[in-house]
């Protein structure tokens, strides 16, 4: 009978078989894994997701390395309540659709009890919306958009938002006794504009005069006209909430115009000196202060231990994102510990709520400072104020407690 099968029938049959196999494969996957989900072996499963390939993979991999380092150390110390933590890692390629799929798979097929992720803003919002219905405890290391933590009480972040950094610098300015501050920000960047707006609001409320708010456009290299205006108002300090390339040029040009007072910045300044390239002269970087979550110059015990552990594990110096990944994992583990102490059954609704409550009520001493949540998913955490030594090396000026 088979010699009568025409090519067309053969192809149709093959296609149908392949499709059938695909569906069976997909279905089989689901049935097998979801049946055992949870903690058959006594291990607690947690998910780690992020962009591990594609354009944003540098952030995703840094967070992944940090989080995995933490879980490895945690397991070496005996895990949570004697149970090992088993991370399940999924790549979402920086795509919101893939992120939702990865999230659903973690929850439905792998039966995780908490997630570290997602990393970038867009996919994190998609995951946050999907996770509300499950009340799944999630900690994002690095998504700064305000929306992320607003959908439900189950989403937390380890980093501070852009406006929060503006407020930190405003408080720092008050503390240092500056009476008048001018700002120079990048027009059209939500990062720069967000910091600038929050700084001005907070500073004016505290009685500081904002003498000028100048802006420039993406790609500008000459800031002399804005700087002339700013220096003409004679401020005590200038806030430059931008990334390090622009910051370097602004500092150099301002010093050339004879401005020798203070510059304030935010975490975009990280890397202005001593990285792969120096964006400003060490001599010009006197009296510059910026806030950030983590610096390898921080000499606190926990941070130096993290830097040496990280270097031993991966052979490179950790970045801000590595530290945030590590802390996000720590925050989640803290919640898990609370739920385990209560003796609840993993995977149950009560267990997830206990993890969320544990995170919300707990305080962890992370490498990026102590992290506590006071009724929202936004952390109340300490910030580092970094300044520069005479040779341009970064120094931790002070630790601002929340």
């Amino acid at each position: 009978m088979f010699e009568n099968v025409s090519r067309r029938q053969f192809v149709t049959g093959t296609a149908a078989t392949l499709m059938g196999l695909g569906l069976v494969g997909c279905g089989g996957n689901g049935g097998g894994e979801s049946a055992e989900g949870g903690d058959a072996s006594g291990a607690i499963k947690v998910g780690i997701m992020g962009p591990h390939t594609g354009d944003n993979s540098s952030y995703g991999l840094a967070c992944l390395n940090g989080a995995q380092l933490y879980f490895k150390q945690l397991n070496a110390d005996g895990g949570v309540n004697g149970k090992q933590v088993e991370p399940v890692v999924y790549d979402e390629k920086g795509d919101a659709t893939e992120a939702v799929n990865a999230y659903n798979r973690l929850v439905q097929e792998d039966g995780v009890t908490g997630i570290v992720g997602d990393v970038t803003t867009g996919p994190t919002i998609a995951v946050a919306k999907a996770s509300v219905a499950d009340n799944m405890p999630c900690v994002t290391p690095s998504a700064t958009a305000a929306d992320v933590v607003t959908y439900g009480s189950n989403y937390f972040r380890a980093c501070v938002t852009d406006p929060e950094q503006g407020r930190v610098m405003a408080n720092f300015a008050v503390e240092r006794g500056y009476k008048s501050v001018a700002t120079l920000y990048l027009n059209g960047s939500d990062y720069s504009e967000g910091v600038n707006a929050a700084f001005c609001e907070e500073a004016e409320a505290a009685g500081i005069t904002i003498t000028a708010q100048e802006s420039y456009a993406e790609g500008d290299v000459d800031f002399n006209s804005q700087l002339t205006n700013i220096i003409g108002t004679n401020p005590d300090a200038i806030l430059v909430p931008n990334y390090y390339q622009d910051d370097g040029m602004i500092v150099t040009q301002a010093r050339a115009q004879g401005y020798d007072k203070v510059f304030l910045g935010v975490d975009g300044w990280s890397g202005i000196y001593g990285g792969s390239e120096n964006y400003a002269d060490a001599a010009d970087l006197h009296d510059c202060y910026y806030c950030c979550a983590f610096s390898s110059s921080n000499e606190s015990e926990i941070a130096t231990k993290f830097v040496s552990d990280y270097e031993a594990e991966y052979g490179e110096t950790p970045t801000n994102f590595c530290a945030l990944g590590y802390d996000a994992a720590m925050v989640l583990a803290n919640g898990l510990a609370a739920a385990e102490e209560a003796g609840l059954e993993p995977g149950s609704e009560d267990y997830k709520q206990a993890v969320i409550d544990g995170i919300a009520d707990g305080t962890v001493e992370g490498v990026t400072g102590s992290i506590a949540y006071e009724g929202s998913g936004d952390p109340v955490k300490s910030s580092l104020i970094i300044t520069f030594a005479e040779d341009g090396a970064e120094e931790t000026f002070e630790v601002l407690e929340a």
């Binding site: 919101a96 798979r105 939500d190």
Partner: protein, 383 residues
């Protein structure tokens, strides 16, 4: 496009040998197909409600449905019209943004909450359907704007101009807020606050409607004109087909359905970022059409299904899954350069008719004349 075989024959099989061939009347054909579609939809919904399909699988199924609409709609322009547009993601993003902005604004105005979209109140359902139509219309308008100048060109030139236009759409989405001075698309940070309105029933209901509309259009006078243009543009013009009109029509219809799919995508994912609708998205959709066989609706649907499920099914192999995806493409293109199904299309009523006539493929000798003929026969059913 190198093969100029007719995809949809006129259905006339010439004088059938061996006496009267029993045929189904048209209303019966439509009724059979409608019943099958309804049964499948109800079955799927029951399996989801009953927990046989978990939410992970049903979300992947929704994405399968969205990609089926995209592939089938691109198939109009590539398979039926014979052009090579590379800007399908642009139309998809027009639809996605149009639909979600409309739904967000109007639901605010009418006081429909996010909860209503999940429970599916009549008002929310009405809003979703009109949102999808608005999304489709936005994409169709973009289709007219690009179609009229672009369709004067052919082949590579058309590919480049559509590619460029899709990039323009993406860059506009990225920067329009600064120009307007108020928040419309959310720029690079993305459009948030889109209610999650996509569900299995909605997506596959749309798949059925889209396939039905495309099928009937291609069987009509207008569809024949589009096929005639693909087979030989000069001959078509000589016989009185208004080529400019029909080329634009095919292009705009293709864009409209891509817009509908974009709207469903927005409801499925809940956040839109212009970066998603880049060049690679267009290529991804084109790959589905080429892999399935240009001009075959079933082929587009099958390859959209396989190519959406494949990366998910292989998720456990993490980094290797993208290689597997590429290897499948290469193997198919080597062994089936015309695509999985070539230009074959599936017809349920044809099968029913064959059974009625006891005309089975394995009864080679005594079958009526046309069964042994290797000619590809028409698509009577939508899937």
């Amino acid at each position: 496009m190198s093969e100029k075989r007719p995809i949809i024959s006129t259905g006339g099989r010439g004088p059938a040998a061996g006496g009267a061939r029993r045929t189904l009347p048209m209303p019966a054909r439509y009724a059979i197909n409608a019943i099958v579609v309804l049964v499948l939809l109800v079955l799927g919904e029951l399996m989801i409600d009953g927990g046989a399909i978990n939410r992970y699988q049903s979300t992947v199924l929704e994405q399968v449905g969205i990609y089926i609409i995209l592939a089938v709609s691109l198939n109009i322009a590539t398979g039926y019209l014979g052009q090579l547009p590379l800007g399908h993601a642009g139309f998809m993003s027009m639809g996605a943004y149009g639909c979600s902005i409309f739904i967000i604004r109007v639901s605010e105005f009418l006081g429909v909450g996010a909860r209503d979209f999940v429970t599916g109140t009549p008002m929310a359902l009405l809003l979703v359907i009109s949102g999808l139509v608005v999304g489709g219309l936005c994409a169709a308008i973009a289709g007219v704007i690009i179609g009229i100048p672009a369709l004067r060109l052919k082949g590579d030139y058309l590919a480049i101009i559509t590619l460029a236009f899709a990039e323009i759409i993406r860059v506009v989405m990225l920067n329009i807020d600064d120009v307007l001075g108020f928040e419309l698309t959310g720029g690079a940070a993305g459009l948030t606050g889109i209610p999650g309105f996509s569900s299995f029933l909605l997506v596959f209901g749309c798949v059925a409607v889209v396939c039905f509309l495309i099928h009937t259009m291609m069987k009509s006078r207008h569809g024949r004109a589009i096929l005639a243009i693909r087979d030989n543009e000069i001959a078509a013009e000589a016989t009185g087909v208004n080529t400019t009109y029909y080329k634009t029509l095919a292009f705009v219809v293709s864009a409209f359905f891509a817009g509908v799919a974009g709207g469903l995508y927005a409801g499925c994912v809940g956040v839109l970022q212009p970066a998603v609708f880049g060049f690679m998205k267009s290529i991804e959709i084109l790959v589905m059409v080429v892999l399935g066989g240009m001009g075959s609706m079933l082929g587009s649907a099958i390859s959209a299904t396989v190519l959406t499920i494949l990366p998910e099914a292989l998720r456990a192999f993490s980094e290797y899954r993208m290689i597997a995806y590429a290897v499948v493409l290469i193997i198919v293109m080597i062994f089936r350069p015309q695509g999985l199904l070539g230009s074959y299309d599936f017809s349920l009523s044809r099968i029913v008719e064959r059974i009625m006539n006891r005309d089975f493929p394995w009864k080679k000798g005594d079958a009526p004349a046309d069964a042994a003929e290797g000619k590809e026969v028409s698509a009577d059913a939508e899937r």
